[in-house]
Amino acid sequence: MNKIIRINMNDLSTRIEDVPAAWAGLGGRGLTSTIVAAEVPPTCHALGPNNKLVFAPGLLTGTPAANSGRLSAGAKSPLTGTIKESNAGGTAAQMLARLGIKALIIEGIPAEDKWYSLHVSMDGVAIREESELVGKWNFAVIEAIEARLGKKTGILTIGPAGEMKMTAANISVKDPDSKIRSHGRGGLGAVMGSKKIKFISIDDQGAPKVPIADPEKFKTAARVFAKALMDHPVSGEGLPTYGTNVLVNILNEAGGLPTRNFTSGRFDGADKISGETMNETITARGGKVKHGCHAGCIIQCSQVYHDQQGKYVTSGFEYETIWGLGADCCIDNLDDIARADSLMDDIGIDSIETAVMFGVAMEAGILQWGDSREMLRILAEEIGRGTPLGRILGGGAGSVGKTYGVTRVPVVKNQGIPAYDPRSVKGIGITYATSTMGADHTAGYTIATNILNVGGYVDPLKKDGQVELSRNLQIATAAVDSTGMCIFIAFPALDIPECLPALIDMINARFGISLTGDDVTNLGKHILKVERQFNIEAGFSNIHDRLPEFFTTEKVAPHNAIWDFSGDEIDEFWNF
């Protein structure tokens, strides 16, 4: 039985509702964005009582479909002021799906200055006052909840960054090893903090299996789909061996690795922080080269990173984090970057926004280029404790840039630009400019076709074909983000003809429907338009679909590339 559960923090009540017919075919991002667009006034304050925080598992989440365990979180973003969807792995999505919960909608703000937790189970949602864990960091929260409610409990939690409503705060999701995955981008942890919810615990005991209308058809399609994932060299070999960090070297070679706050496209220390070096280091120290963020993940791009003594430091150690604290901050010490990654999980702050922020902070002179010791201190003692400086830095790249008068601030719609220089990889610049989410590489990952020769090839240094490439990928991504699928299924989907039809067959078999490829494309288009309409009503226009000025005036080495798209050319993106 599918249901929507509303949690009203104004009067501390909960209500179970039937799923409206219009929402029945939606999941993940499609559902969170539809609900936010329908129910949140676009001009509201993102941290005020009129914003809503929505969680939704994808259409295939909870089924045996490989890589389908992603959870979408949506709200109006306090960082960007736009609509936001951020998805993550971990164990929560599959538990919510088994409980028959299509969406949790959290509304309002409590009248009293107290903290609460939500407990989700077969009995619905219970709102409980919480005092013990308030002020605690995320790993301590997870440990305490497991001691209180059992090892298998699913957990969504905010750290001090979320409690203090920092606009770079994330929502942490417990993974199968009681470590952390994150709804990273857009400050959704601050929205959860504004609603005075420290954590959400999930108990799926007694929940039935997710029903499948045509089990035989599902099984056949699931097998074809899994085979495509295993057969493609990226999802079948590259990602499990080197993780996403395999990108450091190729972006560095291609001159698209933003270095020293986006002043160069190559970093001298790239090899020391590369996926190849990481693989050797992990192997030598007895860590794990591959690791999944949720049960049923067969790509296993995550890893477990140990220190020199062989002790656990971090997991889910991603390219964007390593790029940002590494090349962009001129730090070539992978151990220190790993320590920072763990601290950011513990504090509950987005590792992309914070890495971009540190590049701007170094340019501002708050700390020296390459000073990883000071970076670790600032994370723990300034941001973690919420000192005045920590709150400025916890507001992200835009916040520190504004406070310190820096003009080279790589953000779009106030969200930090990740890991790929838009001057030397022009397709991703179109995605950064036009995404409804602010600068977000995952929204339309043109790196695949600009750099990696996946899904064809479009020259990264020329303008030709970039708008169309970004448009097609953003439409497809919006649809994939609604299925609960990991976005890395896009690599085989772009190259192996059986992959996407198998995905659609699984959705059809799950629900007993008959979607076509065109239906899925139309769903992606519809989601983008719903999100854009919200943004327009929130005060955004095509003028905000632009990159920061410095990209148009400062050439970047080694190709002396410049951002040379006119406004009209960028605006072509929305012609669909």
């Binding site: 061996t241 993780g243 395999v246 090899d271 020769n453 240094l461």
Partner: protein
Amino acid sequence: MQVTVKLFATFRNGRFKVTSQELTEGTACRTIMLGLELTEEQIGVVLVNGRHAALDQGLHEGDTLALFPLVGGG
């Protein structure tokens, strides 16, 4: 001519990270690939001086050739 050859990811196994080769002017990327006992099917990305290149492209004095298997992330 002197050319720098760089290998990445699994291509390094049993080979090298970076080396300098003395070759005849205009030697094609493909010749170097074959010399390393790599096949065209294994090649994901070919970069010459940081720009995508075809295997038939000829190399010149001082060029850097980088060979990658198909890799991805994000």
